[in-house]
Symmetry: C2
Subunit: 331 residues, 2 copies
């Protein structure tokens, strides 16, 4: 039998196990021009929370009582499609199903000999592209500038910081545990990291960590943390808004200090993006990331959870900061 | 005797007459390489409020018990400087004094035969440049896009709207009286204008006025009005932040809905600026504005108050919206 995970309720605030349901159905059979895929690795990402609402967002909402989708690495277990053969591995935006049929559209073949398979969901996939293109296209880093990254120990944050270092910036990360602080400054080469949960005056801590002010703020979280960073931005600073995980589960509009006065007095640029905005830059960016990875210039972390049934829990754990780097479910 | 207006107290909240003092001193005498200037027209502008605080802003604060400065058109009444002669008119950033000495630095000669003198404080001065460069460099208007302007009947707003029309946009203005609504849609050719003071649901009114959504929001005001516009922005919208007059007199940090979620989901760009950011574009911009003015493609409004002693009151009246277009004091 085949397992499928449905969205059965739209979460109100934080998602709960009741919002998901695992059902069983027959394993489908590939017809001419089709493939049968077996799911190997599933990416769970904060942005999926937005698609669980019934409101318009940058991508359409998930439908109730249908399978949820995310980035998945799958193995071709049967092929009636000329471009794929049994044993190939592919990456794509696929359903939360153990087995599924595809017509091949939107699938990319991935090579196990070039990098470990899960890397194609992370540093060589959307995560790496998001970090690289958000930082270079909006952050416009220059040598010796100061880059602050929030959600720094997350999948995107760890890569943003390392790319910032490669491009000559001073890099400061904000994260939520002392273990993550230690990882950022050791494994990921950040110059400094701050545990926002144990720092009484975050604004002052950022000021101390960034004596020359903040030139680029790569924002993964929004909320109070971002307020504290914005209080320290320099003239002509650039503020890529990549995520707002602190706000995704809000059930009412969150209030904060108005930003226009600081944006105005600093001639700052705040720009939101999703990775699709830079579609035409994907090939060059992927090439650069692969070179850095091969040369051991960037490393990455994964939190790997095992078992198909664990996908909803792994997703929910993102909002508790239980992941270090990319959260992946291995089937 | 010579009159001088000093800042004697830093305003707390709205400026009051007690914050200013008029003193009398001797009329100075020009030495070699100097000019004696007689003030003719004084520009009073919302941004001066920021300089009255003791906090760092984009320009240094005014010093207490010294003359305030702003854009001024003056007549050369005595010259011991080779480049200027008696009877010349000049524009510059000068003291609130009836008479003052200059060494000529930073002064531009202006020609009474090309345009009325006060226009060099408005459409052909900082006001026009702010409107033109903020709109074209940050707003990036494209034909048939929808442009919303707040503070629409102010000096910058009226010019932004007209340039928007010249560049093929649909233009909607937000202002604070029915008289100003009528002016915007008649004299200034806006497609639609909204009186925010009498509109119960501003968000909905903007939605009705902009059925295709808002592509560019030229923000002069900040606060609730901007919240209502931002609720209607399109994907890839551009939000030049030119002013935040609704917030200048705040005595505590103003709270509003957090902007990151909408900036993120719309891939929007919010960018603050002051006109000095575009210094190298001044000559081309001034040329374009002069052509449009000569060809009657843009018109402008002035609220002219008479009498040197009236400068502080004219400045205070800006925050009550008593001006239509550029507020100028004629001496």
């Amino acid at each position: 039998m085949n397992k499928v995970i449905l969205l059965v309720k739209r979460p109100f605030g934080k998602p709960t196990p009741d919002d998901f349901k695992i059902i069983h159905e027959e394993i489908p059979i590939a017809k001419d021009g089709e493939l049968l895929l077996k799911t190997k690795y599933v990416s769970v990402d904060p942005y999926l929370r937005g698609r669980m609402n019934d409101s318009k967002s940058y991508v359409p909402p998930f439908e109730l009582n249908k399978a949820i989708q995310s980035g998945i690495i799958a193995e071709v277990v049967d092929s009636k499609h000329v471009e794929f053969k049994k044993g190939d591995f592919v990456s794509g935006h696929l359903d939360w199903k153990e087995y599924q049929i595809s017509n091949g559209k939107g699938l990319q073949k991935v090579d196990e000999n070039e990098a470990k398979l899960s890397a194609y969901l992370g540093v060589l996939g959307m995560t790496g592209l998001t970090a690289y293109l958000g930082l270079t296209e909006i952050g416009l880093p220059k040598k010796d500038e100061t880059l602050v990254v929030s959600g720094a120990a997350g999948a995107v944050g760890t890569i943003v910081g390392q790319i910032g270092k490669l491009l000559g910036c001073k890099v400061v990360g904000i994260t939520g545990s002392d273990e993550k602080v230690a990882l950022l400054t050791s494994k990921f080469q950040f110059d400094h990291a701050i545990n926002y949960k144990t720092t009484p005056d975050l604004k002052k801590a950022i000021k101390n960590a960034c004596p020359d002010g903040v030139d680029i703020y790569f924002d993964n979280v929004g909320g109070d943390i971002s307020d504290a960073v914005l209080a320290n931005i320099n003239k002509y600073s650039r503020l890529p808004v990549c995520g707002a995980i602190s706000l995704y589960n809000d059930t009412q509009v969150d209030l904060g200090p108005r930003l226009q006065p600081i944006i105005l007095t600093k001639s700052a640029t705040m720009r939101g993006f999703i990775i699709g905005d830079f579609f035409e830059k994907f090939p060059a960016a992927t090439k650069q990331l692969a070179i850095w990875l091969k040369d051991d210039k960037i490393t990455f972390s994964e939190t790997i959870v095992e078992g198909f049934d664990q996908i909803p829990q792994a997703f929910m754990d993102l909002f508790e900061g239980k992941n270090e780097g990319k959260m992946i479910v291995k089937i």
